[in-house]
């Protein structure tokens, strides 16, 4: 089947306009990161730096131990992404494909944890970490985000759309629930799993308040906490802060570019006979 290869004329104009507004903050980050401090405050703002200060990048990244921050963020984020892919898909399988007493009440209980604002549960969660003696450790950074109800809900919705026929075929051949989950459901859900991976990565990478609370030393801090260290009561070093922010953003963009093909090329159900 041939498909269209470009938008209609009107579509292109509309998309280009929207895309332009979406680009502005990112452009602002990049151009601010190359300005001198005074130039940032030019009024009305300049879109391009008159004399790009490339040294802002090296200066900002060496003023604080950003290498260490990156390492910490990568460790924490890897565990979070793998953990969430595993725990969320298991729970979602139970909620979407299994029938057992209490399933729907348990799902309601899981969902309800999303509904209380985290700023009131922040202190109790902090108290638990402190009671465990986990302050300023990877345990404190990683364990609370090994699962996510958002991810469970996302996968449950996708698992529900998979026709029962696939499962039944496997069951006839004597497959256990674990086999069905691992060999049938997961391979059919690549787009959803890719989506979850991207969002788990993004949310962990950009999390600020929790890492700030549970870490006290630079050797445990993450990139987002590092960025915030360019702001203080005396004002913000905008070029440095934005230089660091741009560098910190790059891994997310790369990951997005690498995984986004799964949104298109993910195994299409239409190719299988039902």
């Amino acid at each position: 089947m041939k498909r269209k290869n470009s938008f209609s004329w009107l579509g292109t104009v509309f998309m280009a306009f929207l895309a332009f507004t979406m680009l502005i903050p990112f452009l602002w980050m990049v151009s601010t990161s190359l300005m001198s401090e005074v130039e940032v405050y030019q009024f009305p703002p300049r879109l391009f730096p008159s004399d790009p200060q490339w040294s802002n990048y090296s200066n900002a990244l060496t003023l604080l131990p950003f290498g260490r921050f990156f390492l910490n963020s990568i460790i924490v984020t890897s565990f979070a992404v793998l953990g969430q892919l595993f725990t969320c898909s298991m729970a979602a399988y139970a909620f979407a494909r299994l029938r057992f007493r209490g399933r729907d009440s348990l799902f309601a209980l899981f969902m309800s944890t999303m509904m209380v604002p985290s700023i009131v549960t922040l202190i109790p969660a902090y108290l638990i970490i402190a009671a465990f003696g986990w302050m300023n450790t990877f345990w404190a950074l990683i364990t609370p985000i090994l699962t996510s109800v958002w991810g469970i809900f996302l996968l449950r919705q996708f698992f529900q759309t998979i026709p029962v026929a696939y499962e039944e075929a496997a069951r006839l051949e004597g497959a256990s629930d674990w086999t069905i989950y691992w060999r049938v459901i997961l391979p059919l859900s690549k787009p959803a799993l890719a989506t979850l991976a991207v969002f788990a990565f993004m949310n962990t990478w950009k999390d600020f308040l929790w890492p700030l609370l549970v870490t006290s030393q630079n050797d445990m801090r993450t990139v987002e906490v590092g960025i915030a260290m360019f702001s203080s009561l005396q004002g913000t070093n905008w070029p440095f802060q934005m230089a660091a922010a741009v560098v910190v953003l790059l891994p997310i963009l790369l990951l997005f570019l690498a995984t986004q093909r799964y949104f298109i090329d993910g195994i299409s159900l239409s190719g299988l006979k039902s």
Partner: protein, 767 residues
């Protein structure tokens, strides 16, 4: 039924959980050989190294001590409060104005008076007004570090252009107004001024001394109640003068960015001043930290003048100070005191004076620092210290509450145009009621035990869950029993994490909602339903609920837009990957950058939005500056942010729709619209439900955007529930009350979510 007969993975995970709970309790109290001291500051990246050097110097002098320096440039207060709640307070920490009364009144700081000799500093060596900030009766509760009064910074270039000479140090309010008028200009001849004489942020800490200098005040000196003084003609006159700068004389711009004003928002007062759009700016020594570099590079020509005084008034200023305090909970009190003494010693202050951040609390070091300043700015600050008075914020408990009441009242005059006498009368009633409440509450502080009961919740909760699991397996009839076990086994990994880090904190917050808790002290008196009763009559809370409900209306709009984009981008159009990346950008860009850019877009005079509107001949909008349009403006920003995130999920959902359905429809001759309506939408329903439910939940919890862009203003037009909860918990120190609000919010969100699930289920059975 015993655990051993359960499925293997389930049993394994449960035993890991049990072991972990048992062991994790023990290892926190391990003895160690070297003494470790923790010291907390709010040093930012540039200051960080300086304070690290201090810690290293101390370790050189005392090799048996290890000093861990913890810098918390943002979120300092939240972090110190949480540390108090958990009993993990640093041994030594910088005491900042907003938490001074809370900690002092609860007797949580070591009296350092007997140890003052260790600093090697005589009492007279300090600026008396600075030392007074940390003095309670005979006690000294922190060794003073540095301080600042307020001054008028002025842009000499703009003054020269307007034909003005440097202001006289004894200038009056009238002189200030004359200067401001001369500096207000319309440089691009569009009949709207784009250069202003001054700007006035609605912040109590900025206008406190203006009121004093006119003989007015907020509280009476002896009673800590407002009495007649708040509504006296002197106080009213001072407020009126400040309001007139904007409302009557138009020499100050409308407030564009309320949030981040102290952090130097690009569109805020500081940004306008650096950009040469503001003749004069009232600020403290903190502004000079960054500005000095610009002066040295010749990018700016700025000098300072003392605050003006009204004719017949009294020269006044205010002192904001930071000091090193020692927590009573420190396990090594002697060493902690030695460290605090070292950090405020002359040696330490001299080192800091080489790259100055504040004005040293020692007169002789301040004098040395002033000599090294080629612009003479430090010297003016030093002289002003003599007129400095202690801010009310360092005396009154939960002063943020008072600030909030007064700033809201003043906003009604500044933005709403109500007469100042009326709003002050009403503020007075509110403030006195508040003071009466806190006088009652502060009489019974229990000593700090560092025991939060949270582990009790965890143990009993774990027992209850195990019992529940066993009971539900046992009570299920045999043929279905293995289904239940399988289901539980698949849920166990995520449940353990949720249980420990979300459910138990949730239950704890429910417990808190029936108690009164200030986060700092360990006592949590039971108050029954009183939090909920107060909540019922709290008009501000219900106003925030109303705003939140209106705010939620943006969800369907953004979903329609994002579905449209997803439909366009699902095909293999040229550069689809790039388009998707671009639409995804806002959800990953720095929130601060987004807020900056949108504050610029919305700027009434220079903003892109009004520029475009003017081009099309449409009257310019007021956007964030007007209570009627502020909430919609924030909603637009959120639509813009969430479109990309929703698009991604829609794309993944669209991929799941089998192409055969469309092929079949095409064979039947269905057009595009029919295909969309009868195939795409119904089959996309699980995705749509997901986006709708999660977007509405997160829309009810909107916080960061409001916090950065508007702080709930103007006139509470953008005050949403979670921002209100945050204010109550961390500014007003009413965690119990905040938890009650959170649970009311929970009930509302749960109800709305339930309706959505019900509605979607009905439609599924229908199709």
């Amino acid at each position: 039924m015993t655990i051993s007969t359960l499925h293997k993975p389930f049993a394994l995970l449960v035993s890991i959980l049990c072991l972990w709970l048992v062991f994790s309790g023990c290892d926190s109290a391990l003895p160690s050989d070297t003494i470790t001291l923790r010291v907390a500051t709010w040093a930012s990246a540039e200051e960080f190294e300086l304070e690290e050097r201090m810690a290293e110097r101390f370790m050189e002098l005392h090799p048996e001590i290890k000093v861990e320096h913890e810098s918390i440039p943002s979120g300092y207060r939240e972090k110190i409060l949480a540390a108090y709640a958990a009993g993990t307070v640093p041994d030594v920490f910088l005491l900042d104005s907003p938490i001074i009364p809370a900690l002092m009144n609860r007797d949580l700081l070591v009296d350092l008076k007997p140890y003052e000799a260790q600093t090697g500093i005589q009492e007279e060596a300090y600026f008396p007004s600075v030392r007074a900030v940390f003095t309670r009766g005979e006690e000294l509760l922190a060794f003073p570090k540095d301080f600042t009064p307020l001054l008028v910074y002025y842009n000499r270039t703009l003054l020269r252009e307007a034909g003005l000479s440097d202001p006289d140090p004894d200038w009056t309010w009238d002189d200030f107004l004359t200067y401001a008028k001369a500096l207000t200009k319309d440089t691009d001849n569009d009949s709207a001024p784009d250069q202003f004489g001054t700007a006035f942020d609605n912040k109590l800490y900025l206008w406190q001394p203006w009121i004093w200098s006119n003989g007015g005040d907020i509280f009476s000196q002896d009673s800590l109640f407002t009495t007649e003084i708040l509504t006296s003609p002197q106080t009213e006159e001072a407020f009126q003068f400040l309001a007139d700068l904007r409302n009557k004389h138009g020499v100050a711009p409308p407030l564009v960015s309320v949030g981040n004003s102290r952090g130097g928002a690009v569109q805020g007062t500081v940004g306008m001043f650096y950009g040469g759009r503001l003749g004069m700016m009232v600020s403290g020594r903190w502004a000079y930290v960054r500005m000095r570099q610009y002066l040295e590079d010749g990018d700016l020509d700025v000098r300072v003048a003392p605050l003006p005084t009204p004719v017949g008034g009294q020269k006044s200023n205010v002192i904001y100070a930071a000091g090193w305090s020692v927590a009573k909970t420190s396990k090594n009190l002697d060493w902690a005191i030695k460290l605090a003494a070292f950090l405020s010693s002359e040696e330490a202050q001299l080192i800091r004076a080489q790259s100055p951040i504040g004005i040293p609390s020692l007169r002789n070091v301040a004098a040395i620092q002033a000599e090294q300043d080629p612009f003479g700015i430090e010297a003016v600050f030093m002289r002003e210290a003599e007129f400095g008075r202690q801010s009310w914020g360092t005396k009154v408990d939960a002063f943020s509450r008072i600030e909030y009441i007064l700033e809201s009242a003043f906003d009604r005059t500044l933005v709403g145009g109500e007469p100042i006498s009326l709003v002050l009368q009403e503020a007075r009633i509110e403030m006195d009621a508040q003071m009466a409440r806190s006088a009652e509450a502060s009489s019974d502080f229990a000593p700090l035990k560092g025991d939060s009961h949270i582990m009790g919740f965890l143990y009993w909760g774990a027992l209850l869950v195990l019992f529940g699991v066993a009971a539900s397996i046992w009570s299920t009839r045999r043929p279905y029993r293995s289904d239940v076990k399988t289901g539980f086994a698949f849920l166990t990994p995520s449940f353990i994490v949720l249980f420990v880090f979300v459910l138990i904190p949730l239950v704890f917050s429910l417990y808190l909602s029936f108690h009164q808790w200030d986060i700092i002290s360990s006592s949590k008196p039971f108050v029954g339903l009183s939090n909920f009763k107060t909540l019922w009559g709290d008009s501000q809370f219900w106003h925030a609920v109303r705003n939140t409900l209106i705010y939620t209306l943006h969800v369907p709009i953004s979903m329609a837009i994002s579905l449209g984009i997803a439909l366009l981008l699902q095909k293999n159009v040229r550069g689809a990957a790039l388009w998707r990346l671009i639409f995804f950008l806002p959800s990953v860009s720095s929130m601060v950058a987004i807020a900056m850019v949108w504050q610029w877009i919305y700027h009434p005079e220079f903003g892109l939005a009004n520029y475009t509107l003017r081009l099309m001949g449409i009257p310019a909008g007021t956007w964030l500056t007007d209570p009627n349009t502020a909430l919609i403006s924030v909603m637009i920003v959120n639509i813009w942010i969430s479109v990309g995130y929703q698009m991604i999920i829609f794309l993944a959902g669209l991929k799941g729709i089998p192409g055969t359905y469309y092929d079949a429809a095409r064979v039947d001759g269905a057009n595009k619209w029919h295909q969309f309506w009868h195939i795409t939408l119904p089959l996309l329903r699980p995705t749509t439900l997901f986006i709708l439910v999660t977007s509405i939940i997160s829309s009810f919890q909107v916080f960061t955007l409001v916090f950065i862009m508007t702080e709930g203003g103007p006139l509470d037009a953008t005050e949403v529930v979670v921002h209100h909860i945050y204010r109550n918990a961390y500014d007003f120190l009413q965690m119990g009350y905040a938890s009650a609000m959170a649970w009311v919010l929970f009930v509302m969100v749960a109800f709305i979510t339930w309706i959505q699930f019900r509605a979607s289920r009905n439609r599924v059975t229908y199709s």
